[in-house]
Amino acid sequence: MENQDKVKQMNGSGVKPGLAAEPTMRAQGKSEKVRDVAPADHRTPKAKSRGVNVYYGAKQALFSIDLDIFENEVTALIGPSGCGKSTFLRCLNRMNDVIDICRVEGKIEIDGDDIYSSGLDVVQLRERVGMVFQKPNPFPKSIYDNIAYGPRIHGLAEGKADMDEIVETSLTKAGLWNEVKERLHDPGTGLSGGQQQRLCIARAISVSPEVILMDEPCSALDPIATAHIEDLMFELKENYTIVIVTHSMQQAARVSQRTGFFHLGELVEVGKTEQIFQNPVDQRTQDYITGRFG
């Protein structure tokens, strides 16, 4: 009943239910059990950022971000466009290294390892921290080769049988196996948008990462495919730590246990999702979630 109230409150406070109303109910139903065992904040965080500043050339994009990410939880990062939430996400697997003019200051630790220390191998970091992008980006290869890509790079499979198993497990975990098992050697680009995104999730989990970063994974998908992916996140968080950037506040409310609100490069507020959506401390958070700006 508590969940129902939450939905009511959210609707009452100006968040549009829109098309996603039906998946909301489903997601809520599933979340009940999980929320009861939600880890308390005194646990050691899986990933920890302290005083992270990011600059694009002379322009500062993030200001002193302190954020903890806990294991087996979905952490949602919300905020208006250009607020730095994707930039922060990309700091966690050093994808910002690809951008020449980008400079990162501060400390980010995963399991106590400083990921920006000079001795760290980016290849190993990215094996531990997978990523799913806004637009589905399967490689122009077969479905099988898309999944086998990571295991091949990291030498995770001992032979064909081993690789077949990795492919099957990854696809099964991503809820795609039954749809594609008959056509594993068809191009991955031939799948529908939602299937492509699940393929990308399967690709990300093929190397058994500890953390999965999702950068607006549903913004290019229709509501049904979105519901699919959201259900998937519920299952995946049993085994993985998930950080998701989203523009949809309903989505953040549905899938996440913790939510961080970014605004103009600052982390304004972070806390349990229901607390952020029901009793935000900061006025800006209040304004954003009630739709007054953004």
Binding site: R126, F133, P140
Partner: protein
Amino acid sequence: MALAATAFALLVFSSFIIGQSRARASAGSSGLKLHSLPNYHGCYVALWAGVPALLILLLWLALEPVFLRSIVLDTIPERTASMSEQQLSVLFSEIQNKADGAFGITAADESLTRAIDSYKSLKRTSHFAMLAVFFSVCVLCLLFARSRIAPAFTARHAVEKAFNAFLFLSSLIAILTTIGIVCSLIFESIRFFQLVPFTDFVFGAKWSPQTAMRADQVASEGAFGAVPLFVGTILIAFIAMCVATPVGLFAAVYLAEYASKRTRVVAKPILEILAGIPTVVYGFFAALTVAPYVKDTAEALGLAASSESALAAGLVMGIMIIPFISSLSDDVINAVPQSLRDGSYAMGATKSETIKQVIVPAALPGIVGAVLLAISRAVGETMIVVMAAGLAANLTANPLSNVTTVTVQIVTILVGDQEFDSAKTLSAFALGLMLFFVTLLLNVIALRIVKKYREKYD
């Protein structure tokens, strides 16, 4: 003539103004809203003033010589009565030349002078008549178009249709020219194959096109086996591609993926300058620098080499082709979406793994297209081969011996005096036709490959 052209330009321009102002006036007086903008009315009138008159001008210029010829030749029936069609043509061009004063008006007999005079006066009359008709058509059409202008007149549609027709004509010209060239190749080749059997040409292993021009001349029978030429062409093109494909592709990968922005800005244009060097310059580079070097090196290694070799020509041709491959491949590699690179990096792939396993496969159709285009270029290249590979039609796969190619033989056959009914001259057309089919085949294969392996990124 310049005066007439200026007058015509002014007329067309003023007709635009007339149409425009007439449209404005008609809208103003009737109080109705114009269907089309005044500019469209202006264009409409200008098109009517210009196009029909120009068409008539073209028609006139095409038909004038025909009429002039029959009229002028009729003035001297006593000379023309017994002449054949060819003699008539010669006579008429003589009259034309003398009338234009090309060779001075010497040694003209009475009847010829009469014909020349009549030609001159007719020509003058025709000229004035042409201008008169031209400008009257121009003005009449202008007036007609002007009379049609009314607020409800759909000038925009008319102008759009005219524009459409203009574009259609442009593409038609390109297509008809191609068809014309192919037809001329085919007809001349048919004449050739009446003299030399088709199988001898396609499968013959000896090429020696020297035939006797006069009955008493000592010359060989003439052998028209095209195989040595095609083998030579393939050999040189193969050597060229062996140089150009890897170098061009690696250069493209470096430029697209590794080079800093600054390097790229400098390096890419320099590489493209290679494509701007005239092939004849490459030719003497090949003949004077590379060929002797190849010969010396080969002899130092104890191999027999001629001073002109397929290897020298192929190497230099390969260098010439590098920018084709590198520039096109660079473009297709850049067109691979960043999201694919991100996806690969996010899986923990290094830069070179990403290039090998994602970027190059994704860009492969474009790269194959670039390579096939370069092959067409290599097959059609002439100058370097003339200068560096020689003229001897040797049937060999040895890159150190001198060979010749199809294009080179076409050049040597058609340089200098020739008679257009000998097998030697006609063989150039047959070679051209075969070369055309080979290149066409390459292009078709290229298109098929590109289509088959095209990956949709989105």
